[in-house]
Amino acid sequence: MTWGRRNAFRRGFNRQPAHMGSTMAEKMLARHAGKSRVEAGEMIDVRVDIVMANDITGPLAIKEFRKIGIDRVFDPKKVIFVSSHFTPAKDIQSAQQATILRKFAREQETVYFEIGRGGIEHVVLPEQGLVVPGQVVVGGDSHTCTYGALGCYATGVGSTDVAAALATGEIWMRVPPTIKFVYHGERPPWVSAKDMILQTIGRIGVEGGRGAVMEFTGEAVGGLSMEGRLTMANMAIEAGADAGLFPVDEKTLAYVQERAKWPYEVVNSDSDAKYMQVYEFDVSTMEPMVACPYDPANIKPVSQVDKDPLDQVFIGSCTNNRIEDLRIVADLLRGRTIHPDIRCIIIPGSVDVERQALREGLLEVFQQAEAVIAPPGCGPCLGGYMGVLGPGERAVSTSNRNFRGRMGHRDAEVYLASPAVAAASALLGRVASPAEIAREGVTA
């Protein structure tokens, strides 16, 4: 769609939407704003299908909600709270915060996931079918963009936005433009969705998607499992994007059909939709990547990262702790032992993931390899507890952020990588490629 053609429709022709293509983001937002179409830059009020908050953002949202003076949330079935960040309570203050969340959830009869029944919201909501294609979802957590893997418009907001959405069921929004990412080719061994998104962020930078929607397309994306798509969508925020969307295809539908708790709608982009920019990638030439401190865009191929000793490896977070991730890790750790100088922490993303890992014997593999298995939740990802890094410590993490101070002391270093790279690094005590495991003769 060219600008000239768009301008031709400016004078009162906007009741002929069939002639102008829209992106999936524009279509979902238009439907939820009660309009036939919307254009990038337009300010709209959007009806939301799900409002989510966690034990850090929720208490603040509840405090603000009380100031509005309304008694009840707009629709308790559409409100989801998840205790995930500092739970089981790490100290008295976090216990108090979690209590605020828990009590409000009971009082308002909203959906609530307590420890032992949930996990990290971004693993739980898709897995439980609480977010489905075509919805508009807002969450008090920047990684709410994860749900875009299912073809819904999901975006992270702050606590006051959550409060207003709890009261009104609506949110103000500026319609973002969409940037299209096309991935061609076939992934070489050990190149995962994590490597694809790290390459993408490395190319466009942490500001490359600011104020825009990232739409991930191409045959290499079609080849990804839903787990892989969730990993990629999760890190759209690391490029500054409002949302990271995947077209709905047969894999999406197969995943959604067996779990959807809401009616869903397939909303994909028109072939003549207008994109702000298009980036193309050839995945067949990609290598496993590592994002070095202190910036998720500071990427290097795993082979070019220095070989200095590591102190900790964390395999978890809403980016990479679904069952497929744990299977890959178990395949590498099976019959082997973690490097003696490494503390390896593995955290399944949800109770369901943990249960499945238990059934498949993966937890036993981890334990025998001398990793520690922590309860489903965020763990050390945000430097709160359960593996906080000390001064000068170096860690490989499968999470999404390596900012200064993110996982502990300001001088600690975090290297972001895929589960396979993390497992190989745990075995060798330094940043390592999974391909090295056989070569180095670490015997089974």
Binding site: M43, I56, T57, P59, L60, K63, E64, K67, I68, G69, I70, H85, F86, D91, Q93, S94, Q96, Q97, G140, D141, S142, T144, G156, V157, G158, S159, T160, D161, A163, A164, A167, T168, W172, R174, V206, E207, R210, G211, I237, G240, D242, D295, L382, G383, G384, V388, R401, F403, R404, G405, R406, G408, R410
Partner: protein, 185 residues
């Protein structure tokens, strides 16, 4: 309207003077740096303010004075959605943040809680750490008193001005609900 302003006055009214010293930061200042997660067990502004920026400028929280101005490059406030970040900045006494650009969630949060923010690349390029700045929030005029230069920040879209005028999103939401008859006026 008067009634609502008073309800929100303690948290949202621009009570601080908009003249103060410039604290200059770089690009991509993330919310983990603004307020590390290890301090997120509270929502209290004064408590959060004590740790504001400590991982990149350990002296900031202790030395920043009411009315001071933060000046930063691109994509200020990127990363986590924690509203504790603008709350910590506001709690520290910062009267306005001037940057080339803001990360989207931070931008919304600042508008929503009533932390004044301005986009002005010219000011960011010219202002030095320690300069005295005078900022007129109503007009977006930024004056560097130390150097005598002045700058004009970008204006806000209409619908955002409405939130600012209401005194933040909570007050604006009250107005909306009252207009819809869902809250007594």
């Amino acid at each position: 309207m008067t009634d609502m302003t008073s309800i929100n006055a303690p948290t949202n009214a621009p009570v601080m003077p908009s003249e103060g010293k410039a604290w200059v930061f770089g690009d991509n200042i993330d919310t983990d740096v603004i307020i590390p997660a290890r301090y997120l067990m509270t929502t209290d502004a004064a408590e959060l303010a004590k740790h504001c920026m400590e991982d990149i400028d350990p002296g900031f929280a202790a030395s920043v004075k009411s009315g001071d101005v933060m000046v930063a490059g691109n994509n200020f406030g990127c990363g986590s959605s924690r509203e504790h970040a603008p709350i910590a900045i506001k709690g520290a006494g910062v009267s306005v943040v001037i940057a080339n650009s803001f990360a989207r969630i931070f931008y919304r949060n600042a508008i929503n809680i009533g932390l004044p923010i301005l986009e002005c690349a010219e000011a960011v390029a010219a202002v030095h750490a320690g300069d005295t700045l005078h900022v007129d929030l109503a007009s977006g005029r930024i004056e560097d008193v130390t150097t005598g230069q002045s700058f004009q920040a970008q204006s806000y879209p209409e619908s955002i001005l409405r939130i600012i005028a209401a005194g933040g999103l909570i007050a604006a939401t009250r107005q909306k609900l009252q207009a819809a008859g869902r809250l007594p006026a």
